[in-house]
C-alpha cells in the first residue's frame, strides 16, 4: 500500500513512519515536507492513501530555502488542489494543533473536521490529533488507515 506522508515536523514524521511501518499493511512510504513537494509526489506517485499535516510550508525548508509562505491551513489547500485535479485519493489529516487560523477565522479541530467533511466528502476520511506523549493518536490513525483499505475493517476497529 503506497502511502504519502506530507509532514514538515521531523520528530512527528519519524513517529508516523515508525507507526505506519508497524501496521500490518505492507506500507510503502513516500515522504514530502511541504505543500508543493507533497503535490508533486502525489502527481508522480499516485499513492493509495495520504497522511497529511494541516500546517505546512510552501516548499521544503533547507539551508537555501526558508520554506516560503507558511500555510496555517496548508492541508486544506492540498485537498483543494486535489479536488481541482479530480484526484480521488483518500486523505487522513494528522495534526498536532488544536486550533487553526486567527481572530474571527479561528476554529478548533472539530470545526475543521466538519468543514473538511463538507468541502471534500469524497476524499477526506478524518482527522487525528497527534500528541507525542499520548498514545490515542495511534489507535485513531490505525482505524482511519484501515478504513481506507476496507471501510468495514476500519469500522470494526473503531
Amino acid at each position: 500500500m503506497k502511502i504519502l506522508i506530507v509532514e514538515d515536523d521531523e520528530a512527528k514524521r519519524v513517529q508516523l513512519i515508525a507507526f505506519l511501518k508497524g501496521l500490518n499493511i505492507s506500507a510503502d512510504l513516500r515522504l514530502a515536507r511541504s505543500l508543493q513537494s507533497g503535490l508533486r509526489l502525489l502527481k508522480e506517485e499516485r499513492p493509495d492513501l495520504i497522511v497529511l499535516d494541516m500546517t505546512l510550508p510552501n516548499y521544503d525548508a533547507g539551508p537555501d530555502e526558508s520554506g516560503g509562505e507558511h500555510h496555517p491551513l496548508g492541508g486544506r489547500q492540498f485537498m483543494s488542489q486535489m479536488d481541482r485535479f479530480d484526484m480521488g485519493v483518500p486523505v487522513v489529516v494528522v495534526t498536532q494543533f488544536e486550533t487553526f487560523g486567527k481572530g474571527p477565522e479561528l476554529m478548533n479541530l472539530a470545526d475543521l473536521d466538519k468543514r473538511l467533511k463538507r468541502e471534500f466528502p469524497s476524499i477526506y476520511l478524518g482527522s487525528v490529533y497527534y500528541h507525542a506523549a499520548i498514545h490515542g493518536w495511534k489507535q485513531d490513525l490505525e482505524r482511519l488507515v484501515l478504513s481506507s483499505i476496507a471501510p468495514e475493517r476500519g469500522e470494526q476497529n473503531g
Binding site: E10, K12, Q36, Y59, E65, S66, G68, R84, F97, E98
Partner: protein, 1173 residues
C-alpha cells in the same frame, strides 16, 4: 394630502372610516392594522394601587421597575413612566435622570434593565420619549439649524447651538460627538485633541471619556473609515463584555448593528440610562435602519406602533417619513420641504444656468453641483472651508476620478462618519456610494437617504413601495408640478419634462433593470456613446455587466468586466467583480479555464474586494497556462500573437507575480519562482516598452535581493573558515627557515629515520616556561612533523585569523544563539536573561493573555517558560562553549582536534619534493588542515543529529507536558500552537546549524558592491532577529567592488548586531552609513538611533572600560573571552596600527546617537584591475 378626497383614500387603502376620523380628531395614528386603534395617549390609565405599593415597598426599586416593564399591561406604561419621578428611592430617580449637567454625569449606571420582548421595549421607549415631547421638539428644531450652519461652515453658530442644547436638554453623547467633529472641521486635529484632553480630565473613568476617545480616533485623518467599524468590533470582542453591552457599544460608537430583536432590544435597554436626547436619536436611527434594510423587513411591523405614537407628538421629519413608509395613504408629507426640482430638471435636460454650479449651502445642491461641474468642465469650489464645499469637492473628485477612487472615497466617508448624526450624512453617503458600488441601484441606501434627510427628494422614489410611489407622486402633484414630473421621470413614466439623451438612457436602463428586464438592458447598453460623461458611461457599464450576470452569461460577463476595468480603472469599484467570481463554480471555471480574462478577474477581486479568492486566483493562473500546454508564464513568449496585448500584459504584470505563481508545482523553491518572475519581467520589457523602466527596476530589485541572499548563504557556508593569506605570511616568517633546512636535509639524502609520529597528537604544544633546553634533532621526519603541527596549530588557534577566531566570531558569539532562539522568539515563548543575574524575565505576552483567565495559572506558566528559557539557553551555551571549541587542556569536550594522523603525515611527506616551493608546502599544509577539520565537522554534524536534536526535543516535550498539566481547565490553544510551531521550527533551525559545519566552499561570486555588503550584514542579523528591520540610509561615494565578502559582512554583521542588542530600539532604528576611500584607506561611519534608556552612566562606563581594554592591547585575551560586545572582534578585523592609519572609534554622539567610525586599508579587499567588473 389634505386636499385629496378622503373617500378615495379609504377606498384605496381599505381603512376603516371611523378609525381614520377618530385618528384625525384626536391626532393619533394607528397600529400596523389601521382598524385596531390604540387608546389615545391623553387618556392615560392611572397606576393601580397594588403596583404603586409594590414599588414603594421594594428594596430594589430598579429591579422592581425592570420586572414590571415585562409584566404589566402595556397601556399602563405611560402611568408607570409618569409615576417614576415620584419615587423616593434615588435609584429609581436615576431612571428619569435624563438631563446630565455635565459630560461626566452621562450614563452613570452600568446596570441595565432585564430584557423584555422587542415590541414591549419599543413601546416603553416610545412612551418614555413621549413624556419629553416638548423638549424633543426643540431638539429637532435645533438639529435642523445645526445642519444648516454646518453646511455653511458657520461653526461658531454650531457650537452655540450645542451649548444651548446642553443647557436645555442636558449634556448628551450626541452633543459630545458633534462637538468633536465640529472642532476638528473648524480648527483641525490639534483643537480636537485639546478638547479631548479636557474631557479626559473632567471625565476620567467615566463613559464620556471612553466614548470621546474612540470618536476622536475615528475623526483622525489616518483612520480608515471602512476598517474602523471592524477594528472597533474586534476590540469589543477582545474586551469580553456581555453580549448586550457589546451590542450597545458597537452601535453607539461604530454604527455596527445586527438587525435582530435581541440586539435592538439590548441597544435600547442600554440607551435607557443615557440622556433623553440620545435615547430618542438612537430610536430614530434604529428605526431608519429597520425600514431601510431588506433583511430587517420582518421587524417593521414591530416598530410600527411606536413610530406612529411618536410621530404624532414629535415633529421630526424622520418620524414622519417612517410613518409614510408604514401608511403612505394616511400620512401627509406636506410639512416636509421639497428639494429644488427646477434646478434638477434643468440639470437633467442639459439646459443649466451659470448659477446652477453655485453652492447655496443647501444639501440638495450636492445632488447636482458636483456632477454638473464635471459635465460642464467647470472647476470645483476653491475653498473647502464649509462642509458643503468640502463634500461637493469630494463628490466632484469621485465623479472625475481616473483610478479606483478609494482614497477620495475614504476621505469623504471619514467626514460623513464623523458627521453621522446629521440629517444629510446618509444622503451624501448614498450619492458617494453610488459612484463606487457594483450594484446599479441600492434601494436600501436610497431608502436610508430618503428617511434620514430633512427634505423630500424625488430621486429617491424608486426605492419606495408601489403604494408609496403613487402616494408621493399624488402628493407632489398638489405641491409642485415640476417635482411631480421629475418623480414620474425617475419612474420612467411620462413626466412631461425633457431630459438629455444621456440621462434618458441612464434612467431607462436603470428602471428596466429594477423591473428585471435584463435582456433589454443588455441591448440598450451594448453601445455607449463616447460623448457621454465618464461617470454616466460607468453607470451604463455597470448596468450592462450586472444584466449579463443576471442572465448567467458568465464568460461574456467576465470578459466585459475585465475589459471595462482595464480600459477605465475608474470602473473597477462599479463592476460586479465579487458577484461574478462567486457565480463561477468548479464547472464554470473549467469551461472558461482557457480564457486569459478568468485569472485577471480573480486578480481584480483579490486586489479590490478581498483576499478570499487568493487560492482561486492561483488556480486560474495555472489553469490558463495548462490549457495552453504550458506550465510557466515565460513560455507564453512562443504564443504571444494568440492573445490581446493589453490582457496579456496585465496577466504577466499583475497575475504572474511570485505570490500567485508559488501555487504551481512547476516550481520547487522560492528561488525558482523568483527566477521565473525575472523571465516574466524580461518578456514584459519587450512587449510593453512604455513601461520598460518599471520592469527593469523590478529586475534590478529581484537581482539585488538574490545577490544579498546569495551573499548571506556564502557567509553561512564559510562559517568554518580561516584567513589564508595572513596565515601564509605568518608561516613565511616562522616556518620558512625550518622548511629550507628540511629541503637541505632532503637534498643531503637525510630522510626520516624515526617512526612516523603516533596517530593524533592531541595536546597542544607545551607553552609553559621551563629551564630545560629544547631537544635538538637532525631527523627530517621529526622536523616535518614539527613544521606541520606548528602550522596547523596556528591555523586552528590564531586569534585573528585561525579557525578558533571564526568559530568564536561566526558561531559562538551570538550567531548560534540567535539562530536557535529566533524561531522561539517568533512564537514568543522564550525570554531573556536579566542583566547580571541568572534569572529570566517574565513572558509578558503569555502572562497578559492568561492573566485574564487565572492569575495563578498565568504565574505557573510564566515560571515554567522562564525555566524553559534558561534550559534552552543552557543547551545552546553548552554546545557553543564546550563543543564548538578547539580541543585542548581547557576544552576537553572540544570537537576540533589538532592532531595529525600518521598516514596523513606520511602522505604529505610523499608529496613534498625537492622542487616543492614553500608556497607549495603551505598549500599542502592548508589541504591537510581541511582534511583534519573535515573529520571533526562530520562528528559535529552527527552530534547535532544524535544528541543535540533529541535533547532539544526533550526540552520541548517536557515543556508541553508541564504546561498542559498546569492548564488542564483552560483553553490555551494559542499557546499550545505556539509551542508546537516553535518545536518544528527549532528543529529546522538546528538543521541549518548543522549545515554551518561544513568546510568553506569556494565563493561562486567573488565581488560585491558596498551597498550589497551592507545588505548582507544586515540580513544576517535579520535572520536571527526577525523583527529587526533597520531603516538603512547609505551615503556611499563611488567605491569599487570588493572581493572579501566574509570580512565585510563580518564588519556589518557586528555593527548591526550591536545596534540590535544595545540600541534599545528593537525593530526599526534609523542607521546612517557613510563610506569613502582616500589614499587606499576606506573610511566607514555608522551612526544609529538609540533609545533614551540606552544611554546611561552605566553604558558610558562600559564603553570607557572597553576602550581602555583595547588600548592596553589586551585584545587577544579579550577576544577569547566571548564577551558581550562585538567591538573587540571588529577591532581584530580592522587590525589598527600604531600610526593611526587604521583605527576604530565608537561612542555616543552629542545628538544621542551611537557612532562607529573605522578606517582600514582597502588594498587587500578591492578588485585588481583585471578582476574589476
Amino acid at each position: 394630502m389634505e386636499a385629496r378626497g378622503e373617500g378615495e383614500r379609504i377606498r384605496k387603502t381599505g381603512e376603516c372610516p371611523e378609525a381614520v376620523a377618530a385618528a384625525r380628531q384626536k391626532k393619533i395614528y394607528f397600529k400596523s392594522r389601521p382598524c385596531e386603534l390604540r387608546q389615545p395617549v391623553n387618556k392615560m390609565r392611572s397606576l393601580p394601587t397594588n403596583i404603586r405599593n409594590a414599588l414603594r415597598g421594594s428594596k430594589d426599586g430598579y429591579a422592581a421597575v425592570a420586572k414590571l416593564r415585562g409584566t404589566i399591561d402595556i397601556e399602563l406604561y405611560p402611568a408607570l413612566i409618569a409615576w417614576l419621578p415620584n419615587a423616593a428611592r434615588s435609584e429609581i430617580g436615576l431612571l428619569t435622570w435624563r438631563f446630565p449637567r455635565s459630560y461626566r454625569s452621562i450614563r452613570p449606571l452600568s446596570r441595565h434593565m432585564s430584557a423584555i420582548p422587542l415590541e414591549r421595549e419599543l413601546l416603553w421607549t416610545a412612551h418614555f420619549l413621549l413624556a419629553h415631547a416638548e423638549l424633543l421638539n426643540r431638539f429637532v428644531q435645533n438639529r435642523e439649524a445645526l445642519d444648516r450652519y454646518l453646511l455653511l461652515g458657520d461653526y461658531a453658530s454650531c457650537l452655540t447651538i450645542l451649548d444651548r442644547e446642553d443647557e436645555d436638554g442636558g449634556f448628551s453623547l450626541w452633543s459630545l460627538e458633534l462637538r468633536i467633529a465640529i472642532l476638528s472641521a473648524e480648527k483641525g486635529l490639534e483643537h480636537q485633541k485639546q478638547f479631548m484632553s479636557r474631557i479626559r480630565n473632567e471625565c476620567e473613568g467615566r463613559f464620556a471619556s471612553f466614548f470621546a476617545y474612540w470618536i476622536s480616533q475615528r475623526n483622525e485623518q489616518t483612520t480608515n473609515a471602512l476598517r474602523y467599524q471592524s477594528t472597533f468590533v474586534d476590540s469589543t470582542r477582545a474586551w469580553q463584555l456581555t453580549d448586550d453591552f457589546s451590542a450597545y457599544l458597537n452601535y453607539r460608537v461604530a454604527d455596527y448593528v445586527k438587525l435582530s430583536p435581541s440586539s435592538i432590544s439590548a441597544i435600547l435597554r442600554a440607551e435607557a440610562t443615557s440622556p433623553v436626547l440620545d435615547y430618542f436619536d438612537t430610536f430614530a436611527r434604529l428605526a431608519i435602519e429597520v425600514f431601510s434594510s431588506e433583511e430587517a423587513a420582518s421587524l417593521r411591523n414591530i416598530f410600527a406602533e411606536s413610530i406612529l405614537l411618536l410621530s404624532d407628538a414629535i415633529h421630526d421629519p424622520r418620524l414622519l417619513k417612517l410613518r409614510f413608509m408604514i401608511h403612505p395613504a394616511t400620512t401627509d408629507l406636506a410639512n416636509v420641504r421639497l428639494a429644488d426640482a427646477d434646478k434638477l430638471n434643468r440639470f437633467l435636460a442639459g439646459v443649466t444656468r451659470d448659477t446652477d454650479t453655485d453652492l447655496s449651502g443647501e444639501v440638495f445642491d450636492l445632488r447636482i453641483v458636483p456632477e454638473l461641474l464635471v459635465e460642464t468642465g467647470a472647476a470645483p469650489p476653491e475653498s473647502t472651508e464649509s462642509v458643503c464645499a468640502f463634500l461637493a469637492t469630494g463628490l466632484y473628485r469621485l465623479y472625475a476620478r481616473t483610478g479606483a477612487g478609494d482614497d477620495i472615497l475614504l476621505e469623504v466617508l471619514r467626514w460623513l462618519y464623523n458627521l453621522r448624526l446629521t440629517q444629510f450624512a446618509f444622503f451624501v453617503d448614498h450619492l458617494g456610494s453610488e459612484q463606487i458600488s457594483s450594484v446599479p441601484f441600492d434601494s436600501a441606501g436610497s431608502r436610508r437617504a430618503f428617511l434620514s434627510s430633512s427634505f423630500l427628494d424625488p430621486s429617491c422614489i424608486l426605492s419606495l413601495s408601489d403604494e408609496a410611489q403613487n402616494e408621493m407622486v399624488a402628493s407632489l402633484d398638489h405641491r409642485d408640478s415640476n417635482a411631480a414630473a421629475l418623480a414620474r421621470t425617475f419612474l420612467r413614466e411620462n413626466g412631461g419634462i425633457q431630459i438629455s439623451v444621456e440621462h434618458a438612457l441612464v434612467f431607462d436602463a436603470l428602471a428596466r433593470f429594477v423591473r428585471g428586464h435584463f435582456a433589454r438592458v443588455i441591448e440598450l447598453t451594448a453601445t455607449i456613446p463616447l460623448s457621454f460623461t465618464a461617470h454616466n458611461r460607468r453607470r451604463l457599464k455597470r448596468l450592462h455587466a450586472n444584466s449579463l450576470l443576471k442572465n448567467n452569461d458568465l464568460s461574456i460577463c467576465t470578459a466585459y468586466i475585465v475589459q471595462c476595468c482595464l480600459e477605465d480603472p475608474g470602473c473597477v469599484r462599479m463592476m460586479p467583480i465579487e458577484e461574478c467570481t462567486a457565480a463561477l463554480n468548479k464547472a464554470a471555471l473549467k469551461k472558461q479555464a482557457n480564457l486569459i480574462v478568468t485569472p485577471i478577474l480573480f486578480d481584480l477581486h483579490a486586489r479590490y474586494v478581498d483576499d478570499r479568492v487568493r487560492d482561486l486566483r492561483g488556480y486560474t493562473y495555472e489553469d490558463f497556462l495548462l490549457t495552453h500546454g504550458l506550465d510557466r508564464p515565460s513560455q507564453l513568449r512562443s504564443v504571444l500573437a494568440e492573445f490581446d496585448p493589453q490582457l496579456l500584459i496585465y496577466y504577466l504584470r499583475y497575475v504572474c507575480v511570485p505570490e500567485v505563481m508559488q501555487i504551481s508545482t512547476a516550481f520547487q523553491s522560492s528561488r525558482e519562482v523568483e527566477d521565473e518572475r525575472l523571465a516574466v519581467c524580461s518578456l514584459l520589457s519587450e512587449i510593453d516598452k512604455t513601461e520598460a523602466s518599471e520592469y527593469e527596476n523590478e529586475i534590478r530589485e529581484i537581482t539585488r535581493k538574490q545577490i544579498i541572499h546569495g551573499g548571506v548563504r556564502q557567509v553561512e557556508q564559510s562559517k568554518i573558515s580561516i584567513d589564508v593569506e595572513p596565515l601564509r605570511r605568518w608561516a613565511e616568517r616562522n616556518i620558512k627557515d625550518a622548511y629550507n633546512r628540511y629541503q637541505t636535509l632532503l637534498d643531503a639524502g637525510i630522510i626520516s629515520e624515526s617512526e612516523i609520529p603516533s596517530p593524533r597528537r592531541e595536546e597542544p604544544p607545551v607553552t609553559r616556561k621551563t629551564d630545560a633546553l629544547p631537544q635538538v634533532s637532525d631527523d627530517a621526519g621529526e622536523l616535518l612533523f614539527k613544521m606541520v603541527s606548528t602550522f596547523l596549530n596556528e591555523c586552528f588557534t590564531n586569534s585573528y585569523h585561525g579557525l578558533d577566531c571564526y568559530l568564536s566570531m561566526r558561531i559562538r558569539h551570538g550567531a548560534l544563539s540567535g539562530q536557535l532562539r529566533g524561531p522561539l522568539e517568533d512564537e514568543k515563548i522564550i525570554t531573556q536573561r536579566k542583566v547580571g543575574s541568572d534569572e529570566y524575565t517574565s513572558n509578558e505576552f503569555w502572562v497578559k493573555q492568561l492573566q485574564a483567565k487565572d492569575r495563578r495559572v498565568a504565574q505557573k506558566v510564566d515560571d515554567r517558560l522562564k525555566r524553559f528559557s534558561k534550559d534552552y539557553d543552557s543547551l545552546i551555551n553548552a554546545f557553543a562553549k564546550d563543543k564548538v571549541q578547539i580541543y585542548g587542556a581547557e576544552r576537553r569536550e572540544g570537537f576540533f582536534h589538532r592532531g595529525i594522523a600518521s598516514d596523513q603525515l606520511l602522505l604529505l611527506e610523499h608529496e613534498i619534493h625537492r622542487d616543492t616551493s614553500f608556497d607549495g608546502f603551505a598549500e599542502l599544509c592548508f589541504r591537510l588542515f581541511w582534511d583534519v577539520v573535515d573529520v571533526d565537522l562530520e562528528k559535529v554534524r552527527n552530534y547535532i543529529d544524535d544528541a543535540l536534536k533529541p535533547q532539544l526535543n526533550r526540552l520541548f516535550s517536557s515543556l508541553i507536558a508541564d504546561i498542559e498539566s498546569e492548564t488542564l481547565d483552560f483553553e490555551i490553544s494559542e499557546l499550545d500552537n505556539a509551542l508546537r510551531s516553535a518545536q518544528t521550527k527549532a528543529q529546522q533551525a538546528l538543521d541549518e546549524v548543522k549545515d554551518w559545519f561544513r568546510s568553506a566552499k569556494p565563493n561562486p561570486r567573488a565581488h560585491f558592491s558596498f551597498e550589497e555588503l551592507i545588505g548582507i550584514g544586515a540580513q544576517q542579523v535579520k535572520r536571527m532577529h526577525r523583527n529587526f528591520d533597520p531603516d538603512i540610509r547609505a551615503s556611499v561615494a563611488a567605491l569599487p567592488a570588493f572581493v572579501q565578502l566574509n570580512r565585510f559582512s563580518d564588519i556589518f554583521y557586528i555593527i548591526f548586531e550591536n545596534i540590535q542588542r544595545h540600541s534599545g530600539i528593537r525593530d526599526r532604528p534609523v542607521v546612517d552609513i557613510e563610506a569613502s576611500i582616500s589614499d587606499d584607506m576606506l573610511h566607514i561611519t555608522v551612526e544609529s538611533d538609540v533609545a533614551s534608556t540606552a544611554r546611561s552612566a552605566e553604558s558610558e562606563e562600559r564603553i570607557r572600560i572597553l576602550k581602555q581594554t583595547m588600548a592596553e592591547d589586551e585584545v587577544q585575551r579579550a577576544a577569547r573571552s566571548e564577551g558581550g560586545t562585538g567591538m573587540i572582534k571588529l577591532r581584530n578585523i580592522i587590525e589598527p596600527d600604531r600610526d593611526g592609519n587604521s583605527y576604530l572609534n565608537f561612542g555616543f554622539t552629542e545628538g544621542d546617537r551611537f557612532k562607529v567610525s573605522l578606517r582600514m586599508s582597502v588594498r587587500p579587499f578591492r578588485l585588481t584591475e583585471s578582476e574589476s567588473v
